[in-house]
């Protein structure tokens, strides 16, 4: 069953009368539980694609079905609910609230959810433990290293048990060692907890943690292939 299904998805930006075609008719399916990497150079439209899939931006042509329902059939409130309950986001720039503790940051999506308040604390703690930051639970976000910040962001994406986690260059701001730790956690979410992951990266090394790579070039899908030699826990792994 397809969780995400897009057909001829297109996006045209218009800036002071100048039209830029960022996405030119992308068509693909993503199944529940899949780990897909979207690759491409800057300007290839990969971020645009992720933002559209994550309902952070609108598309201008084509169709997008999420869980078999057309996105155009949702009103703005329902889209906010969808983002809150079905989707998790990990950004390149972490985007944590600087003066709040790790636990409070992780709780943030729950504040906007319909889950009972009594569950919040335990859910947030479980998510922090899942990314191995239990010893940082009450530290302020600003006191953490880059790798730790990104792990907090992952915990935050995880806390509401979403169907899909979108990760936009999650290792882009990290050194290779903490970057590897982060991508390994993301992979673990997919392999052990069954989360669908859509990862954006321009590094082949990072992309090879996924099962499938969609390559974009100039707003068009160049290739859509399964990863033959998948990387697992930093070791080469042949599928």
């Amino acid at each position: 069953m397809s969780l995400i299904e897009v057909k001829n998805l297109g996006k045209v930006y218009e800036n002071e009368g100048v039209k830029t075609e960022a996405l030119k008719g992308a068509t693909f399916h993503i199944k529940k539980g899949e780990f897909v990497a979207i690759m491409g150079q800057s300007g290839s439209g990969k971020s645009t694609l992720l933002q559209i899939l994550g309902l952070l931006d609108d598309y201008t042509s084509g169709t997008y079905h999420f869980a078999d329902k057309n996105i155009k059939d949702y009103n703005p409130e329902e889209i906010a609910k969808l983002r809150n309950e079905k989707m998790g986001f990990v950004f390149q720039a972490f985007n944590l609230l600087p003066r709040s503790s790790v636990l409070e940051n992780v709780k943030l999506p729950l504040l906007y959810s319909s889950r009972p308040e009594s569950e919040w604390e335990n859910r947030a703690k479980a998510a922090v433990i899942a990314v191995g930051l239990e010893h940082r639970m009450y530290h302020e976000a600003t006191q953490l290293s880059g790798g730790e910040k990104q792990r907090v962001a992952i915990a935050r994406a995880l806390v509401n048990s979403p169907e899909v986690i979108f990760a936009d260059e999650p290792t882009g701001n990290l050194d290779s060692k903490s970057g590897q730790a982060v991508i390994e956690i993301i992979q673990k979410l997919n392999r052990e907890m069954g989360h669908t992951i859509i990862l954006i990266t321009h590094e082949t090394y990072t992309a090879e943690y996924a099962e499938r790579i969609i390559r974009l070039h100039d707003g068009e899908i160049e290739s859509d292939t399964q990863v033959k030699e998948r990387r697992i826990d930093g070791k080469d792994f042949i599928k």
């Binding site: 952070l56 703005p76 409130e77 906010a80 504040l111 906007y112 935050r156």
Partner: protein, 410 residues
């Protein structure tokens, strides 16, 4: 999102910018402080004036010459000669004014009272013998003069408390002689202290006939005081007096009245209106600073929204609806202004209390501090409203941001 959490989020947002928040609400604090101060002092002034007027009694009617009905009428009433002995006799006639209990003319003058080397400027109240009944004041030493004294124009005076203090100090005044305008008067009574809100302490009472003869040298009255027998008959008494005087003065057009008939209730009402209007005017001036404060709030909230664009984008990405974001920023504005209002109320009441103390201490007035409850409630409501009105635009701006563009914002 639950309101309690929005509230917490909003307070957190404010706490991260403590000094900025404090500076932002300064305008509101000043505005509410001035409004509370003005309202409190206005109410205090009103109570003071009403207290004085009420001392006249609810059944008292005052007839004044000329058209003005109240106020600093000494000059006008000494100049105006429309109330004469003929009028007094007509009013005294039961056929004309059936429901009167007391009728007493007054002649007001002033002069320097001299005793030995002591000199004191006094108000001279030429009155009838009914002062103790009408004004509820009797000499605590000596006695008040009688109708015989009035008829025979006796040179006797009953002196006010301060006059006694200044002229005689610790000496006994009764039986002594003082001079006013080169006439010697015998002191027959001393009035008790009436307090700073009364003009009696600085006055001497003598028969009005004596005043006409020695002090003013005139034949007319400064006023005629009539007391109705019951409060129910007050209105008819006013009408009776008015009609009698119109007949006597051959006036058909009420616009051309050369006298005025008022009651203590009328005076209280008019004075009340004047002080209320003055208070309202001052409060309105103070309210302008609320508008200025509101614009300041709007300004800072707009800056805050721009500065926190990324945070807004993040919250939206995590599931916040437009309404959640709008409520958060609106609440921040309302909390700010309501807090400013509360601080203003506390500050304004404290200031008003200090000013009241100073007035009663240094101006020697019987001034009571009033906490303006209605103004305090109004101040709280208005300051919250200011937050609502001036917060809605920045909050809308925040809610309108597209999550993607907000996240990209640097």
């Amino acid at each position: 999102m639950k309101l309690t959490y929005t509230l917490k989020t909003a307070t957190n947002g404010l706490q991260t910018h403590k000094s900025r928040s404090a500076l932002t609400i300064l305008g509101i604090v000043i505005g509410i402080t001035s409004i509370i101060l003005v309202m409190s002092l206005g109410q205090g002034a009103q109570n003071l004036i009403l207290g004085q007027v009420k001392g006249l009694g609810a059944t008292t009617v005052i007839v004044l010459p000329g058209k003005i009905s109240f106020g600093p009428s000494t000059a006008a009433s000494t100049m105006n000669d429309s109330l004469k002995e003929k009028d007094l006799n007509l009013i005294k006639a039961k056929a004309n004014v059936p429901n009167s209990k007391y009728i007493m003319p007054m002649v007001v003058g002033s002069g320097k009272a001299v005793y030995g080397s002591n000199v004191y400027q006094v108000a001279v109240f030429g009155s009838g013998e009914l002062v103790p009944q009408i004004f509820s004041i009797s000499p605590d030493r000596g006695y008040f003069f009688s109708d015989d004294d009035v008829r025979s124009r006796s040179a006797v005076v009953v002196i006010g408390y301060k006059v006694k203090q200044r002229l005689f100090e610790n000496e006994d005044a009764v039986g002594q002689k003082i001079r006013i305008k080169n006439t010697t008067f015998k002191v027959i009574g001393v009035l008790p202290e009436k307090g700073s809100s009364s003009s009696f302490d600085d006055a001497v009472f003598m028969p009005y006939t004596t005043t006409q003869q020695y002090i003013t040298g005139t034949k007319f009255y400064s006023r005629i005081v009539v007391v109705a027998d019951t409060e129910a008959n007050l209105k008819s008494t006013v009408n009776d007096i008015t009609n009698t005087l119109r007949d006597s003065h051959n006036i058909t057009d009420p616009e051309k009245d050369d006298f005025s008939v008022t009651t203590s209730a009328d005076i209280a009402k008019t004075l009340g209106t004047v002080t209320s209007a003055l208070t309202a005017f001052l409060a309105a001036v103070a309210a302008i600073s609320l508008i200025v404060g509101g614009v300041g709030i709007m300004n800072i909230m707009l800056v805050s929204v721009t500065e926190r664009t990324k945070e807004i984008g993040l919250r939206k990405a995590l599931g916040a609806t437009d309404k959640d974001i709008q409520t958060q920023f609106l609440l921040e504005a309302v909390i700010l202004t309501a807090l400013g209002g509360i601080i203003g109320i506390i500050l304004g009441s404290a200031l008003a209390y200090v000013v009241s103390l100073l007035i009663s201490k240094f101006a020697g007035l019987d001034w009571q501090y009033v906490f303006p409850i209605s103004a305090a409630i109004l101040g709280l409501v208005v300051s919250s409203l200011v937050g609502l009105v001036f917060g809605i635009y920045p909050a809308r701006q925040a809610a309108k941001k597209s999550p993607m563009e907000a996240l990209r914002y640097e």
